[in-house]
């Protein structure tokens, strides 16, 4: 009973943090998505130099801790005159990071498609662009949803690293509640439940999208299509 009362008291305060967390996540995911499209184009269809740039990007961002990337942007960049507020710095760091992962998932989806359809499209006179837009993209897009969903959930949790540069998002507010009430156990239980609900909603919505857009013969099986 105590916990429910505790929850009723502090929930409004924590929910304000939910707004920041979700805002941060949404901006980062959109940024990451757009950048990932460029990266995957470079990785799959780019000329040698473009391929190398895109590959280096992916390796660097996947091979270093996100916290280091965040500090680099928030604490490091001011030395060369680029000063960002905590929200922008965190959105940028998470967005740049997720771009690398999303690009790899897109690439996997594209390369799992049977190559013959691209050949058939070109043989009928479609340009490469038309074949990409009308054949590769709709198919790879469907196949990538499960992995993209996973990535979206991972990044939703990762928004909590913004705490490290003083952004009062959800986790930071839970800590504040803890210090005010000295009920850390309750505070972090509550925040864990909130994260669980948020990630649950994201995962379920994308699962629904996957089922609604499903086409026979195009389901993701983790491997190459026949």
């Amino acid at each position: 009973m105590d916990f429910i009362e505790f929850g009723m008291t502090w929930m409004p305060f924590l929910l304000e943090g939910v707004g920041v967390t979700l805002g941060l996540w949404a901006v980062a995911m959109v940024l990451g998505f757009c950048l990932a499209l460029l990266l995957v184009w470079g990785r799959v269809y780019g000329s040698k130099p473009i391929y190398l740039v895109a590959t280096t990007y992916v390796e660097v961002f996947r091979g270093t801790p996100m916290l280091v990337q965040l500090f680099f942007i928030y604490l490091g960049l001011p030395e060369i005159g680029i000063v960002l507020d905590p929200f922008s710095a965190a959105a940028l760091a998470i967005g740049l990071n997720t771009a690398a992962y999303q690009a790899e998932y897109f690439r996997g989806a594209i390369q799992s498609l049977p190559s013959g359809q691209m050949v058939a499209a070109r043989a009928m006179g479609m340009s490469r662009f038309q074949a990409l837009r009308d054949i590769i993209l709709p198919q790879a897009g469907r196949r990538v949803i499960p992995q993209w969903s996973n990535e979206a959930v991972v990044e939703l949790k990762y928004t909590s690293i913004a705490y490290a540069i003083g952004l009062t998002e959800l986790t930071a507010r839970a800590e504040q509640v803890g210090y005010q009430t000295f009920q850390f156990l309750e505070a972090f239980t509550l925040v864990a439940i909130i994260y669980l609900v948020l990630t649950g909603i994201v995962a379920q919505s994308l699962d629904l999208l996957e089922r609604k857009t499903r086409i026979p013969g195009l389901t993701y099986t983790g491997g190459k299509m026949e």
Partner: protein, 249 residues
């Protein structure tokens, strides 16, 4: 042989990794003619078809379609005039049958949706798939897939259609329906170049047979002569081999 063939292939050569796969191939295809290309595996039959529409551009030689040299410039407009039917069908997995047949009409030929639909329905009826318009490729049998892909090629109103082993990926009991569609096409005056060992089609519908081996055309002629009294020993050897295979299979 007229001086105005729909397709003129002259001395086409193609090398892959230092190996010359096509060593100078020349032939003509007249309007309304069906030619069938036979020959052992690895002889360059698929490569020849892919050279004709520049899916694999030849290293030298020329391909002339209806008086126009096939070259990289404007290649998409030329490819639109050459149908291609693949062994593996290569239907677009995410599109229903009707959309498979409409897509290139829309984005390559620039036809209106209405016009594209009309042509698609006509060709799907011709191949006997009027009841499968809303099906996805994965919901079709192999024979239905191949007939859909033939309709997709036909709807573009091509000047000729290239077939690369259209029945080889099919279960034996399904080849008949595809062969029948191809025979009907040939009889209706479609110009066709068919790589296939389907003797039923060759005997009933081919005007000429081309026997290829080792990257060259060994001999060509009407099925009646080439199948009964071929000039070259290699041809008769090969024919014995494939009839033997067919009897065993």
């Amino acid at each position: 042989m007229s001086d105005n063939p729909i397709l003129r292939v002259r001395d086409v050569r193609k090398t892959y990794g230092g190996v010359e796969v096509l060593k100078g191939v020349s032939f003509d295809l007249e309007r309304g003619q069906s030619k069938i290309v036979i020959g052992p595996s690895g002889t360059g039959k698929s490569t020849l078809l892919r050279c004709i529409n520049l899916l694999s551009p030849p290293d030298s030689g020329s391909v002339i379609l209806d008086g126009v040299t096939v070259e990289e410039r404007g290649i998409n407009q030329i490819r639109a005039q050459i149908g291609f039917v693949f062994q593996e069908f290569n239907l677009f997995t995410h599109l229903r049958v009707l959309d498979n047949v409409r897509l290139a009409q829309r984005n390559v030929l620039g036809r209106s949706k209405r016009e594209a639909t009309k042509r698609a329905l006509e060709e799907l009826e011709r191949v006997g798939l009027s009841d499968k318009l809303e099906a996805y490729p994965a919901e079709l049998s192999g024979g239905q897939k191949q007939r859909a892909s033939i309709a997709r090629a036909l709807a573009m109103d091509p000047k000729l259609i290239l077939f690369d082993e259209p029945t080889s990926a099919l279960d034996p009991e399904l080849t008949g329906e595809v062969v029948q569609v191809m025979k009907d096409l040939a009889n209706a005056g479609m110009t066709m170049l068919v790589v296939s060992h389907e003797m039923g089609f060759a005997k009933a519908a081919a005007d000429e047979v081309i026997f290829m081996e080792g990257g060259v055309i060994v001999e060509q002629g009407p099925p009646s002569t080439l199948f009964t009294c071929p000039e070259h020993a290699r041809t008769s050897q090969f024919l014995r081999m494939i009839t033997h295979e067919h009897e065993e299979g």
